[in-house]
Every structure is written in C-alpha cells, then in structure tokens.
Symmetry: C2
Subunit: 324 residues, 2 copies
C-alpha cells in the first residue's frame, strides 16, 4: 500500500492537470484559482486510501477523488459568498477578487465539473458512486442551511451542533471512504462500515478545528487564532459555554458577544479563559477522543489486510492530533 | 404516440409528486416554490416525445425529463440573482421572497436534485445520459457568462449573439431530445441528429422570444411588452440595430439607450419604430424561419415512423409560431 505522501502527490498531480478552457475566462479562471490555493486534500486522499485498502488500484479512484475535492472547494466558494468572507487560505475569496456573480456562476460550473469527475468511474459502479455522492451533496447543503439558521437562533443544543457538523463536514469524509471502497469492488456492508469510519473521523476533525481556533499556535496553525471567537461563531465551545455558564461567567460571555467594538487582544483571551473555567477544553478533547475511538473501532470491523488497517489508523491519529 | 397535452400532464404530475423534506425549510421551500410557478415544460415534454418517437416508453424517460426541468429552473433561479430580477412568472423571485443566501444555496440543491433525477435511468444508459447532461450544463454556464460579458462589451456581432443563445438556451433543448433518444435505445447517429433538431428549434425559439418582447400582444404574452428595450438588453434586435443604424436612427437609438429616465410609453414605441425602419422584424422572422427549417430538415434525417415525425414537426411549428 502506498504511503500518505504518495497519495497526496497523485492527487495534487491530477488536480494540477485539470484542463480549463481559456474562455469565457471569468467562468474558468476562478475555478483554477480556487483549486490552486491548496488545502489538505484530505477527501481525495481518503478515497485513494480506501480504494487500496479494499483491494483496488488507487489510480482507478483518482478521477472520482479529484471530483470530491472539486466538490469540497465548490462548497467553500459558495459558503464564502454566503458568509461574506474576505479571505480563504490566505488569499482573497473569489467574490472579492472578481465579484459575486462570478462566484455564483463559477461555483455552479465547479459543481458540474465535480460531478463529471466523480462520474469517470467504471460503468459497473457508476450508479452506486453517484448515489452516495449526490445524497452526500444534499446533506451538505442541509448542514450549511442549519449553520446559517443556528447563527440566528437563540437556543442551539450540543446535539443540534453535532448533527449540523455531521451534515456540513463529516458526511463528505464518509462519502470519500465509501466511494473508494465501491470502486475497489467492496460489498455494501464493508463500504458502509468504511463510510462510518470516515464520518466519525470527520466529527473528530471538525471538533479539533474548533479547538485549534481557540488554543492553536498561531505560527503553526497558519492563520490568526480566535476568528470564531471574534465572529461569535456558534462552535462546539460557544454553544456549550452558553448552555453551561452561570452567574458572572454568563454575564461576561454575553457582554463580549454583544460588544461590537471589542478588541481582538482583549476579547480572545477573555473568552478563552471563560471556556477554560467551564472545563470546555477538556470536554472538547474528550469528545474528539470518543469520535476518534469510534472511527478506530469501526475500522476494526472492515475486512481489510492488517497493513492497510494500520496505515488507515495512523492517518486517523495524525489528523485528529494535528496542530494545523 | 401520445399527444403533446398528455406528455405535459405526465410531466406536471411527476413534478408535483417530487417529495421535499420539511426541514431545513429555507433549503427546500424555495425549490418547491420555483417548481410550482409553472412554465411551458418544453424541455421535459421534448424528452418524452423524443423517447417515444425513437420507439421507447415515455415513462422510462419521465424521471430524466423532470431532472432537465429542475435543471432549467435552477439556472433561472441563479440567473435571477445575478440579474437582480425582482419577478419571475409574475411572482417574486426567490432572492426577493427569501434572500440571496437562500437563493444561492437552494439553487445549488436544485442542481444536485436535478442530477439525481437525470440519473434515474436504466443503468445501461446512465453513462451516455450523464455525459450529455453534464456537458450541456457546462455550456449553459458558458452562455450565461457570455451574456453577462456582452452586456459590458461595446461591440457584439450577430454571430456572437447566436453563439451565446445557442449555449445559454438551445443546447438544453438539444440535450432534452438526445436524452429521450438515448433512453429509447437510439443509436448515436440518430441521437445526435435529434440533438441538432432540438438545438435548431432552440435558436428559433429564443429569437421568437426576442421578437415577442417587442411586437407581442401584452394580453396574450402574459407579461409586459418591451422589457428588453427598457433594460437595453442586447437581443438579436438591439445588436443588429446598433450594427446597422446610421445617421439619425443611430443617434436616436443611442439617446434612448443612455436616457436613464426614459418613460416606458415613449421609449418602447420609439425603439420599436427604429427596429421597423431598419427592417429588423423581417430579418428576425427570416432567421426564425431558417432555424425552423433546419430543425424540420434534420427531423427528416432521423429514423422514426412517420406519425412520430408528423407529431414532432407539429410541435416545432406550434412553438415557433407561438404568441406567448
């Protein structure tokens, strides 16, 4: 079985080989720009890894893997329009670099391009691959809608939040695993078991993201810490803080949330301190550990050879223990 | 072979039977709202008609037909955001009734839903059906991008315009025909010939749309006449007028285009009169007749029984001679 870095090289090679028509340039340049911004390439790597783990050839899954990465980047592109985000991976977002219409239309084209790549699989597996891909896409839109709904809703429970990130983030990791397994010819039970592994990994991964925004090291993380705190983003931490804080802590938290002119160097440490007093760092770490364990337990149920399982487990552990 | 009205009833029945999840309501309600606004259902009817004409069962093509109508309505939904249009089929557009984020995200969901319906065909034809559907979708985005580019470009030739409407409108009619033919088991030559019929019909159809906006009867047309003129929309007529007008006509046309405060009851008849002096009504009618004839000639090349061909020809003639 190939190592993680080799999968990544394969994926990056295929992504940089995507041909874009020259014209109309405002339609295709933003897609090339978005794909060139980089990223962890987590989803396509999972697809190749799952395919080989289940006895297939990584190359047979490469186009579908690229399709999933195109899809992921399409969702980021449109989400950035909806969130009015100015920066993505350290560069101006498409709607800032060009304009909103360009971002909408090139995003649409990116979704269709993603589908074209996902559909480049053996005809024998096209129907099940498309089925999981399209179902997953619908779930991701649901997750994004819940995310926007929750920003305006007073009461959001931890369970609401977990379900939202399951839809918005985790199902695509599940899908990436399942698509690789299907292409390898895995039976439905194994493909579904690997989907669950990816989904639990996705939950651990997103919670780790929430933690890194508060306690990450700015130099290692590669972006400013505390962005979620400054935007009052309803993360696992803020939701639990609002549901658990009492007395002075609750009062102080509410003041920081409503203070539109709060300075970053004051608000971030103050809110972080409240989270720490409420034991939320520990709570989040326990949740991450629990979802990671679920992923690893699930992996033990999948029929694959022990080398493949070991490689997969290493990948999971590396991801959830990452510092960036 | 079934009559047009029966196809339409089938299509409308299937569209009203699309199940939408209740939640998240802001994601699914706009899709249901858009599909309930009605429309000619031209594309799905063409798919059913093509399928039966090529010896298939209309019902075998019904889901794919619904998928093409979902796709068409998705493009209208996102185009309305890009054009900042307030009204569609006499009702508020989605971004006005809800908001822009809802319009973007529910449009994305509509595109995936469209793909899911298109993919509900026999596994044996899934790959070629998806191939023409996805290729067509990319062409339609290109057409929309050219349309936006041309609004800001000083010089647009008639050939540029024809290529733009071919991409933005006609290829989907070609695709509707080809998908029906593929589902019926037609060979590639016949499927492609029927694609050309649909594409030429689409060109005639769009030019007729341009003509109706200027010379249509308001009561019959069902919407206000002169919308394109008031918006200085670069239609077949305005492009040819700008390229042909000289002297006083050109001066007057330019004044109307730059007069932001022009009254509808003055500008529309004045621009219409310029078009008439330049012989553009006649020119447009000749172009419509030529594309219609191409569609009918193409139809003569397709292997189908004479009843089916007669029905198809009647449908083409009715569409290009429509007054609404």
């Amino acid at each position: 079985m190939l190592k993680f870095e080799e999968y990544l090289a394969k994926v990056n090679g295929a992504i940089s080989a995507i041909p874009y028509p020259a014209e109309p340039s405002q339609l295709y340049q933003p897609i090339a720009y978005t794909m060139a911004l980089g990223g962890k390439r987590l989803r396509p790597v999972l697809t190749l890894m799952a395919c080989e783990a289940m006895g297939g050839e990584a190359d047979a899954a490469l186009n579908a893997a690229v399709g999933l990465e195109l899809f992921h980047n399409f969702t980021l592109l449109h989400d950035d329009v909806m969130d009015k985000a100015a920066v993505r991976r350290g560069q101006p977002t498409v709607h800032r670099r060009w304009n909103e219409n360009v971002a909408i239309l090139s995003g649409d084209a990116m979704l269709t391009l993603a589908t074209q790549y996902v559909a480049r699989v053996d005809a024998a597996v096209l129907q099940p691959v498309l089925e999981v891909f399209n179902t997953t896409a619908m779930e991701i839109y649901e997750g994004q809608q819940w995310d926007m709904d929750y920003e305006l809703r007073a009461e959001v429970t931890e369970a609401d939040y977990i379900e939202m990130i399951r839809l918005k983030t985790s199902v695509l990791l599940g899908c990436a695993c399942k698509v690789g397994a299907i292409i390898a010819g895995a039976d439905e039970a194994n493909a579904n078991a690997l989907y669950e592994v990816g989904q639990n990994l996705g939950l651990a991964f997103q919670l780790q993201d929430d933690v890194l925004d508060v306690w990450g090291d700015e130099a290692t993380f590669g972006k400013e810490i505390g962005g979620d705190i400054m935007n009052n983003k309803k993360t696992y931490l803020l939701i639990n803080a609002l549901n658990r804080a009492q007395g002075d802590d609750l009062g102080e938290l509410r003041r920081w949330i409503t203070d539109e002119y709060a300075m970053r160097q004051e608000k971030v440490p103050a809110v972080r301190a409240i989270y720490e007093r409420l034991g939320l760092r520990q709570l989040a770490q326990e949740a991450i550990a629990a979802y990671t364990q679920k992923a690893l337990d699930g992996l033990a149920q999948v029929d694959m050879d022990d080398d493949a399982r070991k490689e997969f487990a290493e990948f999971i552990n590396r991801l959830v223990n990452r510092s960036k």
